[in-house]
Amino acid sequence: MSEAELVEGAGAFPQDVAEFEAVTGPPRSLWSDAWRELRANRLFVASATFILVFFIMALFPTLFTDADPRHCLLSRSALPPDSIAWFGYDLQGCDYLARTVHGARVSILIGLSVTTFAVLIALALGSAAGFYGGLVDTLVSRATDVMFAIPTLLGGIVILSVLESRGLKEVSLVLIVVGWPTMVRLMRSSVISTREADYIDAARTLGATDWRIITRHILPNSIAPVIVYATITIGVIISAEAALSFLGIGLQRPAISWGLMINTAQTRFHTSPHLLYFPGAFLSVTVFSFILMGDALRDALDPKLK
């Protein structure tokens, strides 16, 4: 609003709350404000649509393909795409479209579960460390320091190589172990910047317990950066699972995972590039959608950018 407009509008400036609301509508929270902005953001709508499609793919793969991903005939090994099998066949002669579609389940499942657990850890440890400070803070901060000093991928590989079996549960667990520190640090700093607010002092003066202050005042006001980061993390975790499976140290056959498919494709890439392209493209688009959505959320939730 330019200065001239401000001066002109000054006479009509609302005098009390009722009048003010008559002009602006009822008061809106940060979240409902963000929601209005997000609906108008084309990138957000696009990424949300993609994510929805991948969710449906993970829940009901048969909507997208009626071929059985485990029905394989060696006679059609690595055949290129044709009008019946749109994505061609893999080395074992399984329908590649079916395998690619069924691969969505593992990625979405691991991405969501790992991120959920990491967020829960962050909410517990991050708010405890940020709110109480002192010994709790020192312990939590030093623990994250130690985890940061070990390279992420390397740490994941070392832990996985120790485990006897590497199924969905083990891979998720390892990704939670290497993924929590960043999230905890973020939550901690967010809580620290909220802790000093006047409304926290007000709540305490009114006799609110620590539990009430944390759950009713601190968490709702400090969770926004964590939500943004968590959305991006889903994409990063999906990519990390694929990397571990690609290295042959994550999920093992007969699991169907995009990382495993690319692992098989690597030796045959020059003769049968479709083996790399399809799972690679699905994987990239999934990760892309989550990162884009996180970006849109940040733009909507960060008042500094308004």
Binding site: I150, G235, F246, I262, L276, G280, L292
Partner: protein, 307 residues
């Protein structure tokens, strides 16, 4: 300044011991008996096995093993692998290659990343901004192993611009792996620079500088850029560590005989001492780069003082 450095150093001491112990414990908790695996199918007499276990301290409790190991590290002895080759020997052979790869990747990602970020950040919602925004998210989204194969195939095999895999006699064969290795960080640097510059450009002191009648070039180049570089420099310094340790996939795809490929092979063959040796090296790199960040902070932002 000296006291500050010392305090930071003290801060890292427990981090060093905990991180290395954690990895040591994990590595030596690996299932299976590495000494037995060494013998393969051949029968071994019990006395030889026992002697080997004794030599590698495998009979001691874990904590004692670790203390013996870390004592060795401080006297420059990283132990030997099971074939009697000193770990330091392996490391000193692999490190130069990884460092060369990291230097090429680092310089390209830093220069291009900051350039793209500045162009995007100067005008929010402009064409460059949108271009950089979409292309960086795309690069980040493509997993590095997919990117590596695509680059190898398109730029190496099809167009023939770069060597397809590493060749020790030609340093130019490092360009393609470095392009792939640095691509993700390049995207992060561009995004960081963009947000940071866009935010700084709205600061009061930037408006003051403009109001004083300084040229746009001076306002951006001297006043805004310097301050907006702080998060970027932090990222760059920390990235040195991840370039050295995160090259497991890239070194594998392009057949570069560096630390990343070595550590992966060592994990698979249960060469515990080699794995731990490399991790110790990477933890040290991490701590040094973090110390550098702390000092760079103050150099870039005059408001930050060492107490």
């Amino acid at each position: 300044m000296g006291r500050y450095a010392l305090r930071r150093l003290f801060h890292f001491i427990p981090v060093f011991f905990f991180a290395t112990f954690l990895v040591y414990a994990l590595v030596f908790a690996m299932p299976g008996d590495p000494i037995r695996a060494l013998a393969g199918e051949k029968p071994v007499n019990a006395a030889t096995l026992e002697a080997m276990r004794e030599r590698f301290n495998l009979n001691d409790p874990l904590l004692i093993q670790y203390v013996k190991y870390i004592k060795g590290v401080f006297t420059g002895d990283l132990g030997t692998n099971f074939a009697q080759r000193p770990v330091w020997d392996i490391l000193s052979q692999r490190i130069p290659t990884t460092v060369r790869l990291a230097i090429v990747a680092f310089s390209y990602e830093a220069i291009l990343g900051v350039l793209a970020g500045v162009l995007a950040g100067l005008k929010r919602k402009g064409f460059m901004d949108m271009l950089v925004a979409v292309s960086t998210v795309s690069i980040i989204s493509i997993p590095i192993f997919v990117l590596a194969y695509l680059a190898q195939y398109a730029l190496g095999v099809q167009l023939g611009w770069f060597a397809v895999s590493y060749n020790a006699n030609e340093w130019t064969s490092l360009i393609l792996p470095a392009l792939v290795l640095g691509s993700t960080s390049l995207a992060y640097i561009a995004r960081l620079t963009r947000t940071s510059l866009a935010e700084t450009l709205r600061a009061d002191y930037v408006r003051t500088a403009t109001a004083k009648g300084l040229s746009r070039r001076r306002v951006v180049g001297i006043h805004a850029l310097r301050n907006s570089m702080i998060p970027v420099v932090t990222f760059l310094a920390v990235d040195i560590g991840s370039l050295m340790g995160g090259a497991i996939i890239t070194e594998g795809v392009f057949n570069v005989p560096g630390i990343g490929r070595e550590v992966f092979a060592a994990i698979k063959s249960q060469e515990g001492t080699v794995v731990v040796g490399i991790v110790v090296f990477l933890v040290v790199i991490f701590m040094v780069s973090n110390l550098i960040v702390d000092f760079l902070y103050a150099a870039l932002d005059p408001r930050i003082r060492y107490e």
